[in-house]
Symmetry: C2
Subunit: 321 residues, 2 copies
């Protein structure tokens, strides 16, 4: 069993045996059932695993970071519920989304309650680290909201620069990975420098992770990814690949704008290869991964045991789905 | 200038001069403009005034309770933004609602960010009281979500008992008034017993307040209330008046169910008077007000200076709008 699997298991056991259990039995059930539904959907549990692994990297028991792990996982799932409403997404991880199942109103409200539950998890941290944990968490939470707003704004903007795009994905995705690690370090009584190094590791790993997601959406193996590839291309989503191609092939992209065919996906993928867009995105993915590993090296110099985190980073970097 | 006016002014000055200012300058503006818009709409500022007044009742400066005051006001406005989406309300305090102005997606998201900002306000409290403040705030926040879910569930239920209705309004409205007072007491380093007494005062005052709202919606003076009366009756809303009348005049109410006319409003108001529904609601309003004043007496016995809170309660009880 790898360290990731071991920590996933610790997290899931704590989820099932009821971390914050009194809250789950609250009424009305219509408000709490959606929370159980989305938290039970599975997934890699990347964020809570990062919190637990950060604590272990400082020689502490993973359990000291359980409040942090639940806080970031609850926050992540709150944001999925609300994002799915905004994106009108019918399916998540192969299942109907919360708003598809319970309607938009209950999805808004159960998401709100899950955000409150994230703060209820944080409250279980020792009092002396609570103000700093709240500061990190609040800043991150606002940045995630800002990232989602940028993402929605980009849909209606003609021109999006790569720098704006990278900033958007850092806010929408990467900062929460950094936050998960930083909270794990705080829970393990690590130093400010250690927290900063681990945050940077998560931030860059998350950026590499999100660029990887963009690449897999277009160029992944459908059998492995578990869904039809090319969804972003069909919907003209301004990913790093798209933004790169648009710089030289803007009029070509516009000719396909209103189509959603397989032919469109194939033509644009071919153009992305020929124009060097795929290569560019792969280079950027590696670049941010290297920055992540450099930050992890700093954490090691500061005394952290980073072997498990390094293995996790490799697992993220080499994933096919 | 009354104590209420003085504390409203202190709160507004702190709002304008930027309590939590760094956050207000964040980007994108589309996410933060709705927060400024709804916080700037005015209103009685009842919740923050309660926090500040609670601190003064213990002989402390109102300013110690400013973090609590901003937390409850931000939370209240977050809940208004999201409730208005769910209720499809076009107007609040005579102005277009946030979702009418910016669309549902930005309303969901800016509400989320405002909820995070409420926790950012709480963070400014002294560390030693932060865990307890978070506990009170989280429990209250979940109850408000639960109250809103009950309220939505009641719309599609044939039978709602008065007990269920009272529980719903306590969760949706009253607990936040109790929370505002309890946080003010915590900020002023009051005892557990004092916090409990003040919470009970807020809970009962809020219940009386909400029943009063129901009565004013049907029987208020349109010129004073500032809107057409009878909205609840037109939409068959299960208020305390409606639930009382339905117990004896269910078939009469069903004959009007699909209408929205002035004739309907007048007929049902008349029936509410004849069946004793108005009298019953007035009795319940007074009953909860008396419970509030009894709780305030306990706070006085425990050493609080309650004259201003008593005057505020009277202002609430005798209001015409």
């Amino acid at each position: 069993m790898t360290a990731v699997e071991r920590l996933q298991r610790i997290f899931l056991q704590s989820l099932e045996s009821g971390f914050g259990e009194p809250e789950w039995n609250r009424q009305p059930d219509r408000l709490y059932a959606p929370q159980r539904y989305i938290l039970g959907m599975g997934g890699k549990r990347l964020r809570p695993v990062l919190s637990l692994m950060a604590a272990e990297a400082l020689g502490k028991s993973a359990t000291v970071a359980l409040p942090a792990a639940h806080a970031v996982e609850r926050f992540h799932n709150f944001s999925l519920i609300h994002d799915d409403i905004m994106d009108e997404a019918p399916v998540r991880r192969g299942k109907p989304t919360v708003h598809e199942t319970w309607g938009n109103n209950t999805a808004i409200l159960s998401g709100d309650a899950l955000l409150v539950m994230a703060y209820e998890s944080l409250r279980a941290l020792p009092t002396r680290i609570l103000p700093e944990a709240l500061e990190v968490f609040n800043r991150t939470a606002l940045e995630v909201c800002e990232g989602q707003q940028w993402d929605m704004d980009f849909e209606t903007e003609d021109q999006v620069q790569e720098g704006q795009y990278v900033q958007m994905i850092r806010y929408k995705t990467s900062v929460l990975l950094g936050c998960a690690l930083e909270l794990g370090i705080l829970a393990a009584e690590g130093s400010r420098e250690m927290a900063k190094a681990m945050y940077a590791f998560g931030l860059e790993l998350g950026t590499s992770f999100q660029i990887h997601d963009d690449i897999l959406d277009a160029f992944g193996d459908a059998a492995l990814v578990g869904k039809q590839v090319g969804g972003d291309i069909r919907s003209n989503k301004k990913t790093m690949l798209w933004i790169h191609l648009a710089k030289t092939q803007g009029s070509f992209l516009r000719t396909w704008e209103l189509q959603k065919s397989d032919e469109k996906v194939e033509a644009i993928k071919m153009a992305m290869i020929e124009a060097g867009s795929l290569m560019h995105a792969e280079t950027q993915r590696s670049h941010h991964f290297k920055l992540a590993m450099a930050a992890l090296d700093r954490a090691k110099e500061l005394g952290a045991e980073t072997a498990d985190l390094s293995a996790l980073a490799d697992w993220i970097f080499y994933r096919k789905a």
